[in-house]
């Protein structure tokens, strides 16, 4: 490990560099932008950042050659002159006059103590970086899969000398040595590739930036593969979906007439807007609370849909159905960090307003990324409003530890024939929406699903029925 090697040296190589006096008695200035990131190689005079002080825009360059380890400020923060602003792992000689630019010895000694404790904490992060580099070197790719910025490349002085000779930018070369070190062979290979016309410009551009540049690549290029690690959310989704799809699904889809519900909602929202609202109450109802309540009402009739399947590994993998009394209905939400399913607990005990309030609370938390594990746990059945992303029919996937899921498609206006007796030829407007149910076919049969779906449909199409069920 790079870190272990450095710890063995008598002289600490990572030094905090002080922000040089930019003159005119200025004590602090704003960092406008950084030109380097942790891991970037810098040479003497490489631009590090740009700062602004009053009307002066000042370019700060590095006094040392080495690798940037840490930035002490973010862009937009005020940096203090004479205090460390960047840590550099210095790999060249330090000139006498530049020693003063390093933090004084006492500060360095303080650094030695945290170092040993830092070492065990750092390796996991560095390992993933190293393992990512390893993935890189296994595939002979030309792109930089680590996203924006230069990756940390280490090279011996001999290699660096060679790179200067051949006018090669070390940071652009893939290191095949240990920890991603750049070896002489890598330099030679890079030079060859550079001569070859097939070296695309996109090789040195981070893929994120490539998304904005116009496609200038020729169509005769070979297929390029770019391994990217999954985000944490994707990993979770991967595991969950792999488990879920071992459940045999069947799909039951139906078109539901929303016309009556549209009228009811309109009336109720008018009432709500007229009356004075307390803070906890919702100002405007959407259709979702009605749908959720209808599902809960159907679950009283068909409790199997609220159950889960337990496979008892101790007892010969014998499956059991576990019925659950509370209806904890999960509502799938699209958040900045991906699809999440927070849960509205005990819907059976909530009225429409209560469901709406809880829904709003969870939506606000979801957008802010502040859902707690409590909010996400205990679901017994899920409603997925993916109609919000577009799509009329869908085949939703049953969530783990549940046996059924309802996918709500887009609402749309369609022409239909009137059901008023005597007027059956008249064409009327109807608002419809497709409900797509998926269920675990190991325990739920088609007829049960159809009947439950019918109950939900009947309630949604004739919402006044709920009045009959009021206690």
């Amino acid at each position: 490990m790079a870190r272990a090697l450095h710890a063995a040296r008598p002289l600490l190589a990572v030094k905090p560099v002080l922000l040089a006096d930019i003159g005119e008695g200025i004590v602090e200035c704003e960092i406008i932008q950084w030109f380097v990131e942790p891991g970037a190689r810098v040479e003497e005079f490489s631009p590090l950042c740009e700062v602004q002080s009053d009307k002066a825009s000042v370019e700060i360059t590095s006094r040392f050659a080495g690798v940037v380890k840490k930035l002490h400020y973010e862009a937009g923060e005020m940096a203090k002159v004479g205090k460390p602003f960047v840590d550099i792992d210095i790999q060249g000689d330090v000139k006498e006059e530049d020693v003063g630019a390093l933090a004084p010895v006492q500060a360095l000694e303080k650094e030695t103590e945290p170092k040993p404790t830092q070492a065990p904490v750092r390796p996991p992060a560095e390992e993933t970086a190293a393992s990512q580099v390893a993935i890189l070197t296994e595939h002979e790719t030309q792109s930089t899969p680590k996203g924006r910025g230069k990756h940390a490349t280490l090279a011996t002085p001999a290699v660096r000398h060679l790179s200067k000779e051949l006018s090669v930018e070390i940071s652009e070369v893939n290191g095949t040595g240990r920890d991603g070190r750049v070896l002489k062979e890598d330099i030679y290979k890079f030079v060859e590739r550079r001569k070859a016309p097939s070296a695309p410009a996109s090789a040195t551009q981070p893929p994120a930036a490539a998304a904005f540049t116009s496609p200038e690549r020729s169509t005769t290029e070979a297929q390029q593969e770019t391994p990217i690690a999954l985000t944490r959310t994707q990993e979770m989704m991967f595991k969950t979906m792999t488990r879920s799809l071992s459940i045999p699904h069947f799909l039951y889809a139906d078109e539901v007439d929303f016309t009556s519900l549209v009228e009811l909602r309109g009336r109720l929202n008018r009432v709500l807007s007229k009356s004075g609202l307390s803070d906890s109450q919702v100002g405007k109802l959407s259709y979702l609370p009605f749908i959720i309540k209808a599902v809960s009402m159907a679950l009283y009739k068909y409790p199997i849909l609220n159950a889960r399947v337990d496979v008892d590994s101790a007892n010969n993998s014998k499956p059991t159905l576990v019925l659950r009394s509370q209806h904890n209905i999960g509502v799938a939400m699209d958040t900045p960090s991906g699809l999440l399913v927070p849960v509205i607990k005990n819907v059976g005990s909530l009225n429409i307003l209560g469901i709406a309030a809880e829904l709003a609370r969870l939506q606000t938390l979801a957008t802010a990324g502040k859902l707690s594990p409590q909010d996400m746990s205990g679901g017994t059945i899920t409603v997925s409003n993916i109609g919000s992303i577009g799509g009329t029919y869908l085949s939703p996937v049953v969530v783990e530890r549940e046996v059924a899921i309802l996918g709500v498609g887009r609402m749309r206006t369609v022409p239909a024939f009137s059901t008023v007796p005597g007027e059956e030829d008249r064409v009327v407007r109807r608002q419809v929406c497709n409900f797509s149910w998926s269920a675990d076919h190991r325990v739920v049969d088609g007829a049960t699903m159809a009947r439950a779906a019918e109950v939900v449909r009947a309630i949604v199409e004739e919402p006044d029925v709920m009045v009959m069920h009021l206690r």
Binding site: E30, F45, A56, E59, T61, D334, S388, R410, T413
Partner: protein, 413 residues
């Protein structure tokens, strides 16, 4: 007319010292004495200890690129003077926010009461605030070694040039450098007392090896009264930005011609640096464009990624937030009652968007639709959005009412 002998010199090619006029005599009023003009490529001049350049171009991007090239390539020990005039332009500082400083919609429509083309929007490489350039405004630029750098030194030089000229003296105004290193003119007011007007602003760019100080000088701009509207953004009350904000001051012309100002500044510069018989180099457009580095710089300055994408982080919100608790200005556009919007924009790219209260036609759950629409806006470049109405329409898979909100956002950005 001084131009004839100059033209003659140009046509005769590179002429040298024996044509040097007697510079010491009355250079401040020397509109008539010819100064040798070099026609060979200006890059050959970069090694001299004292260099003087004038640009023939009025393209602000090109002039700034020439200036940058001079900054990067002139000899490290040299001192350089560069003079240029731009066509009508709004020039923002390196780290400023165009949405905050400029009324972009008004800019596109052009100067009021003027049929001329809309002013050019430019982001320069030096710090400081937003200014308006036109033919009645002169730009001067001094590049020198860092040890010699001083914020007031060359402003004082320009003041000396101004003091000797007829215009300022005739108006009874006194010019001086103020505390902010700007050049101001004190005018005696009829009522008694003195009113101070800004006639020149300065900005600086400091690199490891060179220091640049450039500034403007309002000579005879016709547009002083027309520019105010362009430099006031309707989004001001809604944007909280990092970076430098402009400081507004009342401005005045000194009442001079471009050539006489330029000659006077050159004269003072020569006096200061003992360059009595040095050359003055005129830089033409073609010549500058033939230089690779200038063209590279030019491409950068003209790219939207530079002009708009170099904007530091800012937030835009319709309602007070924790980060920005100011009361918001009233909105005259008709917007849905519950409409709220919040954006975080970094380098011109929308990093976070949170819109709420939009009106959808037939959605099962409006709140989720807001989330979907907001998420669709993330990672879009603010400056690529030409019409918010279509941007919103595209961002929503479900039909949404875009007119009111879209129009208002167009007005903001």
């Amino acid at each position: 007319m001084k131009s004839e002998p100059m033209a003659l010199l140009c046509h005769l090619g590179a002429l040298t010292r024996h044509l040097t006029p007697n510079i010491t005599r009355s250079r401040l009023h020397s509109v008539s004495s010819p100064v040798p003009i070099q026609v060979r490529p200006y890059t050959q001049n970069l090694g001299r200890p004292v260099q003087i350049y004038r640009s023939r171009s009025t393209d602000p991007y090109l002039n700034l690129s020439i200036e940058h090239h001079l900054l990067q390539r002139s000899h490290p020990e040299s001192t350089v003077l560069f003079l240029y005039t731009n066509r009508p332009s709004v020039v923002i500082g390196r780290n400023q926010n165009p949405w905050l400083e400029v009324n972009l919609r008004a800019l596109r429509q052009g100067l009021p009461q003027s049929a001329a083309a809309a002013p050019t929007l430019v982001r320069r490489r030096s710090g400081g605030g937003t200014v308006f350039h036109d033919a009645g405004n002169a730009n001067w630029s001094i590049i020198c070694p860092p040890p010699a750098f001083d914020r007031d030194k060359h402003a004082e030089m320009v003041v000396r040039a101004l003091r000797g000229l007829a215009g300022a003296a005739a108006r009874g105004g006194k010019v001086r450098v103020n505390k902010r290193h700007d050049i101001v003119m004190d005018l005696d007011v009829e009522v008694g007392g003195v009113e101070t007007f800004k006639v020149s602003g300065s900005a600086y760019k400091l690199t490891r090896t060179r220091s640049l100080h450039h500034g403007t000088c309002l000579l005879s701009s016709e547009n002083l009264g027309r520019v105010g509207g362009l430099l006031r953004s309707p989004a001001e009350g809604f944007i909280k930005a990092r970076g430098v904000e402009s400081v507004r001051s009342p401005i005045r012309n000194v009442g001079l011609g471009g050539d006489e100002f330029a000659d006077a500044v050159v004269g003072e510069f020569r006096k200061m640096y003992g360059d009595a018989d040095g050359r003055e180099v005129v830089v033409g457009e073609e010549e500058a464009l033939a230089n690779e580095e200038v063209v590279k710089g030019l491409r950068e300055l003209t790219s939207p990624d530079w002009i708009f994408g170099q904007t530091p982080l800012f937030t835009f919100s319709t309602h007070p937030t924790e980060d920005d608790p100011r009361e918001r200005p009233g909105i005259t556009h008709r917007l849905p009652e519950e409409f709220r919007a919040q954006f975080t924009v970094r380098h011109g790219e929308i990093q976070a968007a949170d819109l709420a209260g939009l009106e959808y036609h037939y959605s099962v759950d409006d709140a989720s639709q807001d989330v979907v629409l907001s998420n669709a806006l993330v990672e879009q470049r603010l400056y690529y959005i030409e019409d918010w109405r279509s941007a919103l329409r595209q961002a929503s898979p479900v039909p949404v009412d875009v007119e009111g909100v879209g129009e208002w956002l167009n007005y903001m950005f």
